[in-house]
Structure formats: structure tokens, C-alpha cells
């Protein structure tokens, strides 16, 4: 659609101006700063910051943890939210609407982290039930920590994804299903061969949103364990945050940018694959 310059300015300028001044400009400034020594008159130091950070064992641990968690979280989120959306569509009258799953977001993070801690604590709710069977398990140490953390992530952030998938699946034209009926009666096959491919655009959206949410889990981890969580959970944001506390701005800024690089790579890859699929 062609549009006059006057209208284009009126409609696009607010957003573009805000975007450039408040997001792009700071980003470039931050990029420049990551090559300088922030605490010392901002003299140019080239890649020194990056070398320091990349060689830092703590940073490497943080990257590994963040990467692993994000990978698991995204896969689990896509599968679970897709599954639940389909289940919700079985009987719309008596089942909750997808927006219901947004309710966990209304509970403040401070409370959710505390209650989550109570659920999975050795003396907590889950073990309280398990004691009846004679088991008791320490959920909050070691590798099994991933399970409660993933559950927390799913519980809190499924809302967006379920809503998106629900809308997407409802929009699939029934002709696709009718044609499929001619060939096979299997509901599972229909799910995998018709429904799943038809929602690729939604999957793209869900992956981006879930990635952003996966970084949000840092808040809950921080609220439970403060500055030094268990080894498996030490995420990039913890590293960045701790460095801010210690006034090591150079480290913090550089690490932030490396995180950014990872995110950009991921989103870029998604964007390119969207072109091919959609």
C-alpha cells in the first residue's frame, strides 16, 4: 500500500523515534562501552574485556548452564503448550479458556519463588505427600534441580504459548481435517501430520516468547538463593548481576553483550528458518 509522507510520519515516527533513541542508541553505546574500560575514564581497551570475560571460569559455567536450561526449557515449552492447547480444544464448553493459564503471571515473583521453594523443599509439600508412601527426596540439590525448575518455568510462562497455539489451531481450516479423514482415522497422526505443521508460524512466535521468558526465570532463582545459587543454576544473568554488585561494570557490560550475541544468533536462525517454512 502506498502512503503519503505526512501519514507515514504521523503513524511511524513515534515508534521509530522511541525505538532508535531508547533502544538502538543505548545498544550501540553499550557496544562501544564494552570495548572500553568503564571504571577508568573509559579509555579504549579493545578486546581486553572480552578476553577477560571469556576466560573466566565462572562465566563459562554460567554460559553452559544458561544454554542447557534454555534448550530444555524451549523444547519442553513447545511440546507442553502445544499439547495442552489441543487438549483444551477437545471440549470448549467445560474446560478452561486458554487465557486461564495467564493467571500465574499475576502472582508476584517473590511469592511464586517462595511457594515453589516450599513445594520442593525437603520438608515441603511434595515430600509431605510422598512421605505417605514412604519416600522423601531432596529435590533442590544436584541435577534433579532441573525438574522443579522446568516445572516452575512451565507453570509460570505457559500462558502466552497456550493462547497463541489455541488461536492458531482454531484457525486451521476444517478442509484439511476432512481430507485427512479420507486417508486415516488416527487422531495422533492427524495431530502430528496436519495440526503441527499448520502452526509453524505460531511455533516461531512461541519460541521467541519462550526464549525471552526463559531468561526471566533468573528472578525466581535469585529470590530463593540470593547471590550464589547452586552450581547447576548459576545463570548468565547471575554472573552479570553479581558483577554489577561488585561494581565490575566492564565484566557486566561485556557479558551482557555476549548474551545478546547468543540471543541474536538464535532469533536470526529462527527468522531465516521461518522464511523457508512460511
Amino acid at each position: 500500500m502506498r502512503i503519503s509522507k505526512k501519514w507515514f510520519t504521523l503513524l511511524a515516527l513515534p515508534s521509530l523515534a522511541g525505538f532508535i533513541l531508547l533502544y538502538l542508541l543505548p545498544l550501540f553505546l553499550g557496544l562501544y562501552l564494552s570495548f572500553t574500560d568503564i571504571t577508568n575514564n573509559r579509555r579504549w581497551v579493545g578486546f581486553e574485556n572480552y578476553q577477560n570475560v571469556l576466560n573466566n571460569k565462572v562465566f563459562q559455567l554460567a554460559v553452559l548452564n544458561t544454554f542447557l536450561f534454555t534448550l530444555c526449557a524451549l523444547m519442553v515449552m513447545v511440546i507442553t503448550s502445544f499439547g495442552i492447547s489441543n487438549l483444551l480444544l477437545i471440549d470448549h464448553k467445560r474446560l478452561p479458556k486458554p487465557s486461564f493459564f495467564m493467571l500465574p503471571l499475576t502472582i508476584p515473583a517473590a511469592v511464586t519463588s517462595f511457594l515453589w521453594y516450599l513445594v520442593f523443599h525437603y520438608e515441603g509439600y511434595l515430600n509431605g505427600i510422598l512421605m505417605g508412601i514412604g519416600l522423601q527426596y531432596n529435590w533442590l540439590i544436584g541435577p534433579q534441580l532441573y525438574l522443579p525448575l522446568l516445572l516452575l518455568y512451565l507453570w509460570k510462562y505457559s500462558g502466552y504459548s497456550i493462547m497463541i497455539y489455541y488461536a492458531g489451531i482454531m484457525n486451521i481450516p476444517s478442509e484439511y481435517y476432512d481430507v485427512f479423514q479420507l486417508e486415516s482415522n488416527s487422531k495422533l497422526k492427524r495431530l502430528l501430520l496436519i495440526t503441527w505443521p499448520s502452526v509453524y508460524p505460531q511455533t516461531f512466535f512461541v519460541l521467541v516468547i519462550s526464549l525471552i521468558s526463559a531468561f526471566g526465570i533468573f528472578k525466581e532463582i535469585y529470590l530463593v538463593w540470593k547471590d550464589y545459587p547452586p552450581k547447576q543454576l548459576y545463570m548468565l544473568q547471575n554472573f552479570i548481576h553479581n558483577n554489577y554488585q561488585r561494581m565490575a561494570f566492564g565484566n557486566a557490560q561485556t557479558a551482557s553483550f555476549l548474551l545478546l550475541l547468543l540471543v541474536f544468533g538464535f532469533v536470526g536462525a529462527l527468522y531465516l528458518s521461518e522464511k523457508k517454512i512460511v
Binding site: 513515534p14 515508534s15 525505538f19 479458556k97 515473583a109 509439600y125 512421605m131
Partner: protein, 274 residues
């Protein structure tokens, strides 16, 4: 098969939302010192069974009374309300216009800028802390709310979201309206908005919830206690005295939950096809 699935989902619902809220209510009606005692004993593994402990909690409404008497709390509550409403209102205006431009207007850098919007959306906030500090100092607005509110009003998520919604609309509709002499503002208000109403309401719901829960920018840029939002108050409590956390949290939750129910009511008549 269907019956068991539905039963399973009902259990899920209980776990998802009812259990946490009931738990919160229980804790908020318990006296602080009691709760602190309980938590300390749990930490030191001195209790047998948490359910038994819960049954023995003595209820009192002391927490709520002290909140009602605390004027600072209500001032901060009002702050949260003002910030949320103003941020979401500006976001709506800015994002729908930009979403429309992304979706329907062919200009040279459309795809490139849209991609930039997505990248910025995915950027974690920590990247901006140092640059924002410098920029805000240079402009002179450091230590004020504008440091928090201004960036959030222009957050790219809105433009991204509305572009996806408006993309699906028929070009012909808009062109017909143009032929009839409508200007773009009329088109957006009278034609596009009704057509994307479900998405619009979802956007408002998501944004109100997110803005209401906004925390890091406040911690970084606003030192004055009177200007704090409620989320900061809860954060401080969580760090220092978690047992006092639950009563304010109940009150904190009321606006977003109200918005949720209003959203559901609005969505009910329209619930044909998304």
C-alpha cells in the same frame, strides 16, 4: 478417555492457580512471627509434616490491618496504577500505528527494521543498564520515573504483536475505506480495531500484567521510596522478611486479576473464531 482427560485437566487447574492462591491466603492471615517461626523450623528440618503444621497455624488479620494503616503502601499502590495505565495507554497508540505500518505499508526498510524490532525485543534488560545510566545523566532525567516509564512506552513488542494481527486483514477493506475518503486514523480506529479485538484485548492483558510486575528498571533508576511501585516493595520484603510478604501480595494481585476477569467478560460474546 475424554472423561479422564477432562478430570486430569481439572487437577491441572487446581495445581496451576487455586493451590498457590489458597496458600497465599492462608499465609496472609497468619501472624508474622508465627510464620517466621514456621519457616525457620522448616529450614532447620525440625518439622515432621508440613501439612500438620499448616493445620495448626493460628489465623489473625493483623497483617491486613497494618497494611490499611500504612499510607506509604497505598501511595506506592497508586504509583503502580498510574505507571501501568500510562505505559499501556501510550504503548497502544504507538504500537498499533507502527504495527499497521509494518503490516500494510510498503517502504524500503520494512523487513529490516522489523527484524531489528524482534532482536531488541529479545534483548535482556541488563544490556541497557550502563548505557541508560549515561544517557539519562546526559539528558538530566536520572533518578526520576521517566527513566523507567519512557523506555517501556516504546517497547517493540507491541509493534511486533500488532503487525502479526493486522497482517491477516484484507488489504481491500482498507483500500475501500480510503476510496471513501477515510483518513488513516479513522481506518485504524473504526475498521482495524474492531477486527483485531481479541488480539487487542490479549495485548492489553499481557501488558498490564507485565507492567504491573515491572521490577528491575525501578531498582536501577528510582531511589526515592515514595516513587516506588508496589513490585519493588514486595521485592524488598522478599529479601528481608518473607513472612510479611503474603498480605501485601494479595492486595498486589487484585488489579491484574480484575483485569483478567474483565478480559474474560469482554471475550465471551466474541468467542467464535479468534
Amino acid at each position: 478417555m475424554k472423561k479422564t482427560l477432562i478430570r486430569l485437566l481439572k487437577i491441572l487447574i487446581w495445581l496451576v492457580i487455586l493451590f498457590p492462591i489458597l496458600n497465599m491466603l492462608l499465609f496472609s492471615f497468619t501472624h508474622e512471627s508465627h510464620l517466621a517461626n514456621l519457616f525457620r523450623r522448616i529450614e532447620y528440618i525440625e518439622i515432621d509434616n508440613i501439612y500438620r503444621e499448616l493445620l495448626h497455624l493460628k489465623l489473625s488479620n493483623a497483617n491486613f490491618i497494618s497494611i490499611f494503616l500504612n499510607t506509604m503502601f497505598w501511595e506506592q499502590f497508586l504509583n503502580s496504577l498510574i505507571y501501568t495505565v500510562s505505559i499501556v495507554a501510550v504503548q497502544l497508540i504507538v504500537s498499533i500505528s507502527m504495527g499497521f505500518v509494518f503490516a500494510k505499508v510498503h517502504f524500503r526498510f520494512n523487513k529490516v527494521i522489523f527484524f531489528l524490532y524482534i532482536l531488541v525485543m529479545a534483548t535482556p534488560y541488563t544490556v541497557y543498564l550502563v548505557p541508560y545510566n549515561i544517557i539519562f545523566h546526559a539528558v538530566g532525567i536520572q533518578n526520576s520515573i521517566w527513566c523507567v516509564v519512557l523506555p517501556y512506552m516504546f517497547f517493540p513488542f507491541g509493534a511486533f504483536f500488532f503487525r502479526q494481527s493486522i497482517l491477516r486483514l484484507d488489504d481491500a477493506l482498507i483500500e475501500a475505506a480510503l476510496l471513501d475518503g477515510a483518513n488513516y486514523i479513522t481506518i485504524i480506529l473504526k475498521i482495524i480495531t474492531p477486527l483485531i479485538m481479541p488480539s487487542l484485548l490479549a495485548f492489553i492483558l499481557i501488558n498490564i500484567t507485565e507492567t504491573w510486575n515491572l521490577l528491575e528498571p525501578f531498582l536501577a533508576f528510582v531511589q526515592l521510596e515514595q516513587k516506588h511501585s508496589l513490585s519493588v516493595v514486595l521485592h524488598d520484603l522478599a529479601m528481608s522478611r518473607p513472612e510479611a510478604l503474603f498480605a501485601p501480595s494479595i492486595i498486589y494481585m487484585i488489579p491484574p486479576v480484575l483485569v483478567y476477569f474483565v478480559f474474560e467478560i469482554f471475550n465471551h460474546p466474541n468467542k467464535q473464531k479468534e
